[in-house]
């Protein structure tokens, strides 16, 4: 039995939790899927490997008040901390199983035709073995690594009750704001054009919102009618409004788990915008989200000496 499975099993056997939220192999190659075990038998399926990309803390607010164990990578632990900071969960209800994370893969990095032709795939060390019929191809993990993992500053969970160590090597941490600097080098008009172009395909399905562990509001502004913020006639202007408003709502909260980008059926990727706000919060207020469960949310507090240079 794998280590995650035996740990989950004992937590359920001892009655310490009602449910364990973790990963099991998915039906598609390189995509582990969420698994909810309510009985010791169901715990047998749990795995932990570099295909365990989803952030499972998205399921926790709806389990508020219940005793839950959850597997968290570095980024997931930070979204969990934000949920604790915002009182969406209590620490007492949780058993946190930390996963030391070497970085996870996403098949979104493969050309779609190649991915569709795969029959199976496995990760072995720093290699991904892709099988399509009788063909076998090896690609480095590096090539399929999820974007946030390239710059991740907190691969080790910031909170945990148990820790499952990694036996993979650690990566060099790339500059987290490289994508921001790259965009900032463009002329102002060009930046707006790029933003418009990026969101123009958005169909307003809100999959990004649904996938985000921190978009837990039961009453999202997008769903309101009085006033109506977006739509019902959807235009690029609505897409811009939605994405700018969502970015503001995640400012000082987003932990760069990457779930929103992976969820989008149209491949819309605004990660750099969220990174810019993360950077602004760090520079202006010296705050990094998701590190301290006791810290007040950055926009729910202030310091009299906060910069006010932009105010006449």
């Amino acid at each position: 039995m794998t280590e995650p499975a035996s740990l989950a099993r004992s937590l359920l056997e001892e009655g310490r939790v009602e449910v364990v939220v973790g990963y099991r192999p998915g039906t598609l190659p390189l995509r582990a899927r969420p698994h909810f075990a309510f009985s010791p038998e169901q715990a047998a399926q749990f795995i932990w490997d570099r295909t365990c990309t989803p952030d499972l803390t998205v399921y926790l607010p709806r389990l508020k008040g219940r005793r839950v164990a959850v597997f968290v990578k570095g980024c997931d632990a930070r979204s969990l901390v934000v949920l604790l900071q915002e009182r969406q969960l209590s620490r007492e209800q949780l058993v946190v199983i930390g996963l030391e994370c070497p970085g996870v893969v996403t098949p979104d990095k493969l050309p779609p035709e190649q991915y569709q032709a795969l029959t199976s795939a496995t990760v072995e060390g720093e290699q991904v073995l892709l099988r399509g019929g009788s063909q076998l191809e090896r690609v480095p993990v590096e090539q399929l690594l999820a974007d946030p993992c390239r710059t991740c500053q907190h691969p080790d969970p910031v909170i945990q009750d148990y820790l499952i160590p990694t036996n993979c090597g650690r990566r060099e941490r790339e500059d987290p704001y490289g994508v921001v600097a790259q965009f900032e080098r463009l002329e102002r008009e060009e930046r707006w054009v790029r933003l418009e172009r990026e969101v123009a395909d958005c169909i307003g399905c809100y999959a990004c919102r649904q996938a985000c562990p921190l978009c837990y509001c039961p009453d999202c502004f997008t769903d309101r009618f009085q006033p109506r913020w977006v739509g019902p006639i959807w235009s690029t202007s609505d897409a811009l409004f939605f994405h700018l408003a969502r970015a503001l709502h995640l400012a000082g909260r987003c932990v760069d788990c990457g779930a929103c980008v992976r969820a989008c059926p149209l491949g819309i990727d605004l990660r750099h915008v969220y990174k810019r706000l993360e950077q602004a919060v760090k520079e202006r207020f010296g705050y990094v989200p998701g590190l301290d469960p006791e810290a007040p949310p950055v926009l729910g507090t202030f310091r009299p000496e906060d910069p006010g240079d932009f105010i006449k």
Binding site: D238, F241, A280, T301, P304, F310
Partner: protein, 146 residues
């Protein structure tokens, strides 16, 4: 929206009831001259200004937005303007980053005694927005739904 020479920008100003709105009032009763391009929305406190209102105003074709509240330390609700300052700083950074013109959205602290300053800020904001020309970015072109 008219041609080059006679463009009259529409500026929407969110003014807090206790300071900036009173400052505007003082400008009025002191008969100070300032451009008639500003439309005022009185709000209880700058901390009550939802940044989405600002985006919505730009989407509906307003050419410029001003948010004004009490000076730091003077907020009637003690800390509303401090909280607003964090929130609005991030709105400003976001708009700058994605390529909105600087000066479309402005912020100020104006007290109830600063009628002069209020008139001056309205002049500045109006001229800045006039120079930028009509707001285009974010404007929704299709017929509105309500």
């Amino acid at each position: 929206m008219s041609g080059d020479g006679d463009f009259q920008p529409r500026v929407l100003a969110f003014l807090c009831h206790w300071c900036s709105y009173a400052g505007a009032d003082l400008a009025g009763i002191s008969r100070l001259q300032y451009p008639p391009n500003v439309r005022v929305v009185r709000v209880p406190c700058s901390g009550a200004v939802n940044p989405l209102w600002i985006l919505k105003a730009l989407q509906r074709g307003v050419d410029g937005v001003l948010v004004s509240g009490c000076h730091p330390g003077d907020c009637h609700y003690l800390a509303g303007n401090y909280v607003a300052r964090r929130r609005l700083a991030l709105l400003k950074d976001l708009l700058d980053y994605v390529g909105m013109e600087p000066g479309r959205v402005s912020f100020s602290w104006v007290s109830a005694a600063e009628g002069q300053k209020f008139a001056q800020i309205i002049r500045e904001v109006t001229e800045t927005v006039r120079a930028l020309g009509p707001g285009r970015k974010l404007v929704k072109e299709v017929a509105t739904d309500d």
